[in-house]
Symmetry: C2
Subunit: 284 residues, 2 copies
């Protein structure tokens, strides 16, 4: 791992690293916030839990680090923040010119099976397995994990947690694309990455996964959604997730927030409440 930058922030350290990813067959950057509870000399008692943040379309690992203001609450709560990129990157990685919703910046956190995507676009494996293993090996971070994200990444967080309820203590999302198999963004991405057989899409759809979840493996779920979000009606369709949770008796807390839109101003308003939500699950 190569350290790209380090900035003191809220008595902790905001850092950025590059590493060679085996899952993605390319070099990847990630950002990480190490709270002040991690302080040298390190010992087992200074290990902290981590919240993984999955960003939305067009983002990199840096948007959340610079715009959400999450470090303050993470420092108070003694939680590390792990912020991966949103797709594989670099020369030779497939992309579509002028499409913000397919290719670079738009990995959708799936393992692609189709050409030309399958060599690099394996973000599901990267987020679920490779990155946590790397982070827990190199930093004093334990295996208590929660996961959170925005829009495409809000869905990624829900989908990954629902498929891996033993690996995460809690999951939360801002403005998630809850039902990608029926949204224009999701249908475009899944048809390219996963092919035309929609049966192969189902395992990557949080609303469908809710119905399949075992009651014994229910996780704490928190969703915040602005009712002035410009993508709500066409892309996000929060009401489908609410209906699925009700039908499956999955106890999710879903807040519709009056006047808020899809921007980082929404995230920065409520990120502290999300981190408190995760802290409770991580400490229990």
């Amino acid at each position: 791992m190569e350290l790209l930058s380090s900035h003191r922030s809220c008595d902790g350290s905001q850092e950025r690293y590059r590493h060679a990813s085996k899952s993605l067959n390319c070099n990847m950057n990630f950002s990480i916030y190490l709270p002040p509870q991690i302080s040298p000399p390190l010992d087992n008692r200074s290990q902290v839990p981590a919240v993984y943040w999955l960003s939305g379309l067009t983002c990199t690992d840096e948007n959340f680090a610079t715009k959400a203001g999450a470090q303050r609450a993470a420092a108070e709560l003694g939680i590390a923040l792990v912020m991966p990129d949103t797709s594989p990157r670099g020369e030779g990685v497939a992309d579509v010119a002028d499409a913000y919703d397919l290719g670079l910046g738009a990995g959708f956190y799936v393992n692609a099976t189709e050409e030309p995507w399958s060599r690099h676009y394996r973000m599901y494996d990267y987020i679920v397995d490779e990155l946590p293993a790397l982070v827990e090996q190199h930093f004093p971070i334990n295996d208590r994990r929660s996961i959170c994200g925005h829009s495409m990444g809000g869905h990624g967080a829900l989908m990954i947690a629902l498929r891996n309820p033993v690996r995460y203590r809690s999951v939360s999302a801002f403005s998630p694309v809850v039902n990608p198999t029926t949204s224009p963004w999701g249908k475009k991405a899944f048809s390219h990455y996963l092919g035309d057989d929609i049966k192969n899409w189902w395992a990557y759809d949080a609303t469908l996964l809710i119905a399949a979840a075992r009651a014994s493996e229910h996780l704490p779920i928190l969703v915040d959604q602005g009712n002035a979000d410009e993508f709500l009606a066409e892309q996000l369709k929060t009401e489908r997730f609410i209906a699925a949770c009700e039908a499956a008796h999955y106890p999710a807390r879903i807040n519709m927030r009056a006047g808020y839109d899809h921007s980082y101003f929404f995230i920065s308003t409520f990120i502290e409440s999300h981190l408190h939500f995760h802290a409770q699950a991580l400490s229990s």
Copy 2:
């Protein structure tokens, strides 16, 4: 005034406007945060005070709005935030290609007297007179003002407040260029904007203004400076401001912060304490 954007943030509203500036002879954008204490229907009781934020080199009105996380404390305290741009903009505005520290983004908050700058580069008048008059006319914001900034803008805040102690209740700065008449950034900018006679620079230098301040007009001053700031030794020279305050018995609070650098991670760590500092002065 033209509304360019509006986002709900911390129960208030983060907005961006364009207007024709008479001081600067061009169209200017500014950002403004209106806290939730301003709520329609408006009446005199819902007027709030304002903290003006002056940004540093290369910034626009948007950097602080998106990266500092200041809205949360402003919402709690009932303070509006007014965020101007750092220079005149647009076609016909003088600039120097490839110089980040002169021309666009580098107005240094002075009234230029030299060609080709004097037609547009009158940021001092814009910040001191035109923008407050505009803001106090269009929004339920009263004339209780404080001022704050970063780097070039940290100096701008100190310089403007020291020259106008009746117009401001308090002043604070992050990483200010405290003595621009002796720093490379300041000398370059002042020689172009103000000419070669350094006597004409003195009225724009906060360290020199401290010596000239009347004790009856002393303002509350707060400065935060990181000791790992990459510009500290060559450009910022905080020790000169500390010495000037001591010599003049000007009671400034100047905090050297271990490990912090020049970035927005430093600002976002301490902006809440600055807004609490200003709130106390604005309410007394």
